[in-house]
Amino acid sequence: MQRGAKTVGILDKSLSKGKNEVNLSTFALLFAEIIRYAQNKVNTVAELQEKLAEYGRFVGIRLIDIIVLREKSYKRDTKLLNVLLFIKSTVWKSLFNKEADKLERSNDDICKYFLIEKDPVVNAFISLPKDKSALNCASFVAGILEAFLTESNFPCKVTAHWHMGTTYMIEFDAEVISRENSMIEANR
């Protein structure tokens, strides 16, 4: 086959409506293979989680634009709470067909938020070996989440933990919170 001269660049194609769906089994098998591949390259559980988060960030950076374009006609939220709610409901729905279960703010630390999901799909098919019981494949989703927030100009660090199912701990940079506060002050 010739790679034709009149190849249409990817940016010239119109964006699909995103109604395409694939079988969950296919994704589960692919994800299992990704973990297997990543596992062969790393030595510790922490490294493996970091690797998965890296894959997640790759996915997240690309997905956020698509979702914002489709769902919000390219208007972005500037308020922290709105962004978080948008992610909890709309983004989660378009990715996993359901909302995330809970969104909470930490009492002790104003920079910390928690997004709680009882049964993340990426963990559904992965059985943990005894020596690696701390491993949480939801790190992949944490990576997606981190990319979403960071790309929306809310730099943060997201990690996945086993707590009430899976909890994504979102730790915003201090400047995000102070910017948020000064914005509230200014509007008063």
Partner: protein, 179 residues
């Protein structure tokens, strides 16, 4: 036995884009880790093969109507009409059958794997959808058929997969995971 309806009720679906991009993340990482496009293709094929071995079981369990295939043409039909439909959500055409019927092409009308993909010129040798070839090879091997699967064309052209039947595997081969 309950008649299998057209839409399989127990098949859970999920966002195609998340799948596409997750696969993209894997391919990119392979490109970073491995030196040449050939190595990446080989690794993708292996990943597909591992998936195929398991898909064969899943597929047969969920499609009780599909019995034994007597000839290659039947296998071609089931791959293109049923298997690709249920696992990738696309329809495909089985074409260019060779005169003795042991070789044919499967052309995918659309390929969800390549939805957002643009391949830079330095990776022009990469077979982006090689994982599908590996999956077909793995799935058929689990059903005791040895086939040769090649990607005849891929992005930016429609994906075309060439399948050549080699032999029936008579002896019970343990379909183990090779690593």
């Amino acid at each position: 036995m309950a008649r299998a309806t057209k839409a399989m009720p127990d098949t859970k679906m999920m966002s195609g884009e998340l799948f596409t991009l997750t696969y993209g993340a894997l391919v990119l990482d392979l490109c970073k880790d491995l030196e040449s496009a050939e190595d990446v293709n080989r690794q993708l094929d292996k990943i597909g093969y591992n998936m195929g071995l398991r898909i064969a079981d899943d597929f047969l369990a969920k499609n009780p109507r599909i019995g034994r295939c007597a000839e290659m043409q039947q296998v071609a039909d089931i791959i293109s009409k049923n298997a690709l439909k249920s696992y990738l959500g696309v329809t495909a055409q089985a074409t260019s059958v060779s005169p003795n019927g042991d070789e044919y092409s499967i052309v995918l009308e659309s390929n969800p794997l390549v939805e957002f993909v643009e391949i830079p010129p330095e990776w022009s040798k990469i077979c982006y959808s090689q994982v599908i070839c590996g999956a077909i090879r793995g799935a058929l091997e689990a059903l005791h058929m040895e086939v040769l699967v090649q990607l005849a064309s891929d992005v930016p052209n429609p994906t075309e997969i060439r399948i050549k039947f080699r032999r029936v595997l008579h002896e019970m081969m343990p379909a183990g995971d090779e690593d």
